[in-house]
C-alpha cells in the first residue's frame, strides 16, 4: 500500500472536473484532439467489467485493461471548462463539471507566479443597470412614437464640441456662416466596437469585426466604428477607404505606430478618430500585456518587436500630468492629421475620473474630442487576476458623476462621454446603452460581447478565460495557426452584424415609449430604480 501524499494535486483540486462515460465513449479521440489545454488524455485502465454475450444472460466478471479518457492531475493542464470536448463528442460521452471544492487559487501560484487570465471581473456579480428600468412611458398627452415606422436619429458626437458662443459665426443677410475651422466632430453610431488589438485577438477574429463594421456601414448605413486596439493595423486596410470606419488607438507601448506613421502618406481617407489609451477598466494602473505565447510572426511584424512578453508600461512616457498629456499627446495626434481627426482619451474609471474630466473640459486648447471611461467589468485578453478582480471602479455612477460635473459648469456635451466596461454583460447591450445614455453618456463601447458573438465561451463564473494562454479553444484569442482556423470569419461577422441590427431595433423600442426620436442624453427622468441607494446616488426616481 502506498503512503498517502496529501499535498499532491488531484483532479478534485482543479476548478473543473471531467465526467467521462466509458459506456458511451467510442474512443474516437476527438475530445483529446480538441482540447487545447492538454487537460485530458487517452489511457488504459484496468477495470472490473461484467459482460454477457450469449442469447441468455450469462454474466461473467473479468478484469480487463480498457482505454479511457482521463483528466490530468496538473495545475498547468487544468481543465478550464470551455466544453470543447462536449461540443465535439459525437456520443455525448464527456463534459466538464464545475468543481465547488476547487483549491486552484491556493495551488496555482507555485513558483511565486501570479495567476493570469483574460475575461472580465469574476467577483462583482451585482449589476446596477439591472436594477434600473425605463419608467417614464409616454401616454395620453405626450404620445409614444412608433418604433417600426418613425424616423429615429440614433447618432452620437465624437469630437470636441464648441459652446455656442464660441462658434466662429459671421452674419450675412440673416445667415450664419462659419468663418474659421472648428474642431472636427463626427456623428457616429452610439456603439463603438472597442479596443481589441491584433495580437490579443487572432487576425481572423479582428478581421471578422472589421468585416462586420464594413458591412454595417456599407449595407445598412449604420455608422458603427471600431477601435484598432494597441497593436497596429494591416497596412492594406490603412491604405483602403475602410480606414474611415476605424479609430486608431495609441497606448503606452506605442505598438504598431511605426507602420501607422509610415502608412500616413498613403492614406486615402482619414481614420474615424484617434484614441489615446491611458488605462483600461479591467486592469487599471497596469499596461497592456501580450504573453510571448501569442507573439506570433505576423504580430512581431505588425508591432515591430521580437518574440517576447510584450508588456506596455503603465504610463505613457514623459507624462506626469493631465496638462502635459493634453499638450503633448493631443497636440501631436491632432497635428498628425492636420486637425481633421478627433482625438479622444480612454481612462479606467476611478475615484478620480471626475477630476480628470473636469481638467479636460477646462483645457484651453479645446482639443479633447471624447472621454472614454472604462469600468471594472471591462474585459481583457490578459491580466493578473488580482487586478481583474480587485481593482477598478463601477462604471454607472462614475459616468453619472462625470456628466453631472459637466452639468454643474454648463459644459455638458462639449467633450462627449463614452462609457464601457460591462456594457452588454448579460447579452442585452441595447438596454444597458439606453440607460447609460439617459444617465449622461453620449454612447457606449463594448468588446467582450463581440468575441462572444464570434464564439467565445468565457464567462464571469470562471469558465475558460484563457485568453492569455495562446490556447483559446475558439480560435479568437490565439495566434496558433491550427487553432485560428476554428473560427469561421464570415459566420462571426454575420453574428456581429445581426446582433447590431437587433441592437438598433431595440434602441428604437426603448426610445419610442419615452417619445424621443433623438438620443435622450442626460434624460435621467426617464429612469426609475427599485433600489433606494441607487436612486440617491444617481439622482433618479425611486420606485417600488
Amino acid at each position: 500500500m502506498e503512503t498517502m501524499r496529501t499535498q499532491e494535486v488531484t483532479v478534485n483540486d482543479l476548478p473543473w472536473k471531467i465526467e467521462h462515460s466509458t459506456i458511451r465513449c467510442t474512443m474516437c479521440g476527438s475530445c483529446v484532439a480538441a482540447c487545447t489545454f492538454n487537460a485530458i488524455e487517452a489511457k488504459m485502465e484496468r477495470r472490473s467489467v461484467t459482460i454477457s454475450t450469449g442469447h441468455q444472460p450469462e454474466p461473467m466478471q473479468q478484469h480487463k485493461a480498457i482505454p479511457v479518457i482521463l483528466q490530468k492531475n496538473s495545475i498547468a493542464h487544468a481543465c478550464v471548462g470551455c466544453g470543447m470536448c462536449e461540443k465535439i463528442c459525437p456520443n455525448k460521452a464527456i463534459k466538464p463539471v464545475r468543481n465547488l471544492d476547487s483549491r486552484y487559487n491556493v495551488l496555482a501560484r507555485s513558483g511565486g507566479t501570479t495567476i493570469k487570465r483574460g475575461g472580465r471581473n469574476n467577483l462583482i456579480q451585482e449589476r446596477t443597470l439591472d436594477k434600473i428600468v425605463v419608467g417614464r412611458i409616454s401616454q395620453m398627452t405626450d404620445p409614444s412614437l412608433d418604433a417600426e415606422r418613425h424616423v429615429f436619429d440614433i447618432l452620437a458626437p465624437f469630437g470636441r464640441v464648441l459652446p455656442a458662443n464660441k462658434l466662429p459665426f459671421a452674419q450675412e443677410n440673416g445667415e450664419l456662416r462659419l468663418t474659421a475651422q472648428t474642431p472636427p466632430v463626427n456623428w457616429i453610431y452610439p456603439l463603438i466596437f472597442s479596443d481589441m488589438s491584433i495580437g490579443a485577438l487572432s487576425t481572423r477574429a479582428w478581421e471578422a469585426i472589421a468585416l462586420a463594421v464594413g458591412y454595417l456601414n456599407e449595407k445598412h448605413h449604420l455608422p458603427v466604428r471600431m477601435s484598432s486596439g494597441e497593436g497596429g493595423m494591416p497596412v492594406n486596410l490603412m491604405k483602403s477607404d475602410f480606414l474611415k470606419y476605424t479609430m486608431i488607438q495609441i497606448a503606452s507601448g506605442h505598438f504598431g505606430w511605426n507602420r501607422i506613421v509610415r502608412a500616413m502618406p498613403h492614406m486615402n481617407v482619414d481614420p474615424a478618430g484617434i484614441i489615446i489609451k491611458i488605462g483600461q477598466g479591467a486592469k487599471p494602473g497596469d499596461g497592456g500585456l501580450l504573453p510571448a505565447a501569442k507573439v506570433a510572426e505576423h504580430v512581431q511584424a505588425i508591432r515591430g518587436v521580437p518574440k517576447a512578453d510584450l508588456m506596455s508600461p503603465p504610463n505613457h512616457q514623459g507624462l506626469y500630468s493631465i496638462e502635459e498629456s493634453v499638450q503633448k499627446m493631443f497636440m501631436s495626434m491632432n497635428a498628425a492629421f492636420k486637425f481633421r481627426v478627433p482625438v479622444a482619451i480612454k481612462c479606467a474609471a476611478s475615484a478620480t475620473s471626475v477630476s480628470v474630466y473636469n481638467n479636460l473640459l477646462r483645457d484651453p486648447y479645446l482639443i479633447c474630442g471624447g472621454f472614454f471611461i472604462d469600468g471594472i467589468q471591462g474585459g481583457t485578453g490578459a491580466a493578473n487576476e488580482v487586478s481583474l478582480d480587485h481593482t477598478g471602479h463601477p462604471i454607472v455612477s462614475k459616468t453619472r458623476e462625470c456628466y453631472l460635473a459637466a452639468v454643474k459648469q454648463g459644459l455638458q456635451g462639449q467633450i462627449p462621454l463614452w462609457a464601457g466596461g460591462g456594457v452588454g454583460l448579460t447579452g442585452n447591450a441595447a438596454a444597458d446603452a439606453f440607460k447609460m445614455i439617459c444617465l449622461g453618456a453620449n454612447g457606449v463601447f463594448l468588446g467582450k460581447l463581440l468575441i462572444q458573438l464570434c464564439g467565445c465561451v468565457g464567462n464571469e463564473h470562471g469558465r475558460c478565460n484563457a485568453c492569455s494562454t495562446g490556447h483559446c479553444p475558439t480560435g479568437i484569442c490565439t495566434q496558433d495557426p491550427r487553432l485560428v482556423k476554428r473560427l469561421d470569419i464570415d459566420k462571426a461577422a454575420q453574428n456581429i452584424v445581426d446582433y447590431t441590427l437587433a441592437f438598433d431595433m431595440e434602441m428604437r423600442k426603448l426610445m419610442a415609449p419615452v417619445g424621443n426620436s433623438t438620443l435622450p442624453v442626460g434624460r435621467s427622468d426617464a429612469l426609475v430604480t427599485t433600489d433606494r441607494a441607487i436612486a440617491e446616488k444617481l439622482g433618479i426616481q425611486y420606485a417600488c
Binding site: P143, V161, A164, Q171, L178, T182, V521, G522
Partner: protein, 333 residues
C-alpha cells in the same frame, strides 16, 4: 396675460420700466423699500379696481400693483445692455425677496410690458379685474394670453403661461419631455433662467438665449429646438452652420408634442411647433387684427368674420412671424 405696446393708462410711460406685482401689503412694502434703496424713482402707479362680487372662482392676492419707474440717475447715460441687465437683476431680486417671505409674485419689470396672472376660472378672473369693461385703462396692441396653465403638477402662479424675460414672452400648448436636459443646460447659461415651474419655460429661455444672448437671426431658433435630421442636413448648403448649431446646442433640443407662441421685443409675434408630434395652432386675421390661437375655436370667437380660407395651419417645419405692420411671413426651416 402679458400685454406689450401699451396705451390707455400707460400710454405716457412707454419708456419707463413697468413692474407687475401680485402681493400682500407686507410684500408691497418690501418692494417699495427695495426700489427706493436701489434708486428707482416711481413715476406712475396703476392699481386695478377689483370686483369682489361673491361667487367668483378666483384665488386672489390682496394687491395687484403696476408701477412705472425711472431708471436710477447713475444709469442716465448707460448702454441699452446695462439697463436691460439692471431690470433683470431687479426683477430677480424682488422675486427672491417676495418668495423668501412668501409675500407675493413679481412677474415682469420691463418698459411697455404688463403681466397679470391669477388662479381661478378665467372668466371670473376677467370679471374680477374688470377686463370685460371697455374702460380704456388697459389697452395694448400686442397681447399674449393663456387661459389654462399646466394642470399636471402643482398649481402655482409662476407656472402659469405666458412667461417673460427681458422683452421676450412665450406661451405654449403641450409639453416638453426634454425638460430635464433643457433645464440642466439652461441653468448655467443665464442667471435669469430660473424657476422652471413649467416645462414650457424651456422654450422661452432658449428663445431668449438664441435671439438676445447669441444674437442669431430668428430662423435659427427653430434649428436649435427642433434640429433637422442628419440625413436632411447632408443636402443643405448651410450644412456646416446647422451641424455646428445642432451639436453645440444639443441640450436645447425640445421634445413635444407642443406648439409655441412667442412675442418679441420688436412687437412681432411668432409661432412654431414641435417637429414630430404636433399640437394644433392656427393663424388668422383681418385688416386690423391678426391672432395666433392654439385652437381654431378661439379665432372664431374673436374674429368670426375673417376670411377663413386665409387661415394658416403651420406645419412641423414651419415658422410664422407677424410683424408690427401685421405682415405675415412664413418660412420652412
Amino acid at each position: 396675460m402679458v400685454m406689450q405696446d401699451l396705451y390707455g393708462e400707460f400710454a405716457e410711460y412707454k419708456d419707463k420700466p413697468l413692474l407687475s406685482l401680485a402681493c400682500t401689503q407686507k410684500g408691497a412694502k418690501l418692494v417699495e423699500d427695495y426700489m427706493e434703496n436701489n434708486s428707482f424713482v416711481q413715476v406712475h402707479e396703476w392699481i386695478p379696481k377689483v370686483n369682489k362680487q361673491p361667487g367668483l372662482d378666483i384665488k386672489a392676492m390682496p394687491y395687484y400693483i403696476f408701477r412705472n419707474y425711472d431708471y436710477p440717475d447713475y444709469l442716465a447715460k448707460a448702454s441699452k445692455e446695462a439697463k436691460e441687465e439692471l431690470l433683470l437683476s431687479t426683477r430677480l431680486a424682488i422675486r427672491e425677496l417676495l418668495e423668501k417671505n412668501d409675500q407675493g409674485y413679481a412677474f415682469s419689470f420691463w418698459p411697455d410690458v404688463l403681466t397679470l396672472k391669477e388662479i381661478g376660472d378665467p372668466r371670473d378672473i376677467a370679471t374680477y379685474f374688470g377686463l370685460w369693461n371697455d374702460s380704456g385703462e388697459l389697452l395694448a396692441k400686442n397681447i399674449v394670453v393663456q387661459c389654462r396653465q399646466n394642470t399636471n403638477y402643482e398649481i402655482v402662479r409662476y407656472a402659469a403661461h405666458p412667461f417673460f424675460i427681458q422683452g421676450y414672452t412665450l406661451c405654449a400648448n403641450g409639453e416638453n419631455t426634454f425638460y430635464t436636459k433643457n433645464k440642466e443646460f439652461q441653468k448655467s447659461l443665464n442667471k435669469g433662467y430660473i424657476g422652471f415651474e413649467s416645462d414650457s419655460q424651456n422654450f422661452l429661455y432658449t428663445l431668449h438665449y438664441v435671439l438676445h444672448e447669441l444674437k442669431w437671426p430668428i430662423k435659427y431658433y427653430k434649428h436649435v429646438i427642433t434640429p433637422l435630421q442628419f440625413e436632411e442636413l447632408e443636402n443643405r448648403p448651410d450644412q456646416a452652420a446647422l451641424q455646428a448649431i445642432r451639436q453645440s446646442l444639443g441640450h436645447l433640443e425640445i421634445n413635444g408634442p407642443n406648439t409655441i407662441i412667442g412675442m418679441l421685443p420688436d412687437n412681432s409675434m411668432m409661432t412654431c411647433c414641435d417637429s414630430k408630434k404636433l399640437r394644433p395652432v392656427v393663424v388668422g386675421g383681418d385688416e386690423e387684427t391678426i391672432a395666433i390661437s392654439s385652437e381654431v375655436c378661439g379665432l372664431n370667437v374673436i374674429l368670426p368674420d375673417r376670411d377663413k380660407t386665409k387661415d394658416i395651419y403651420p406645419n412641423e417645419r414651419e415658422v410664422v412671424v407677424i410683424n408690427e405692420e401685421l405682415e405675415v411671413q412664413r418660412w420652412k426651416q
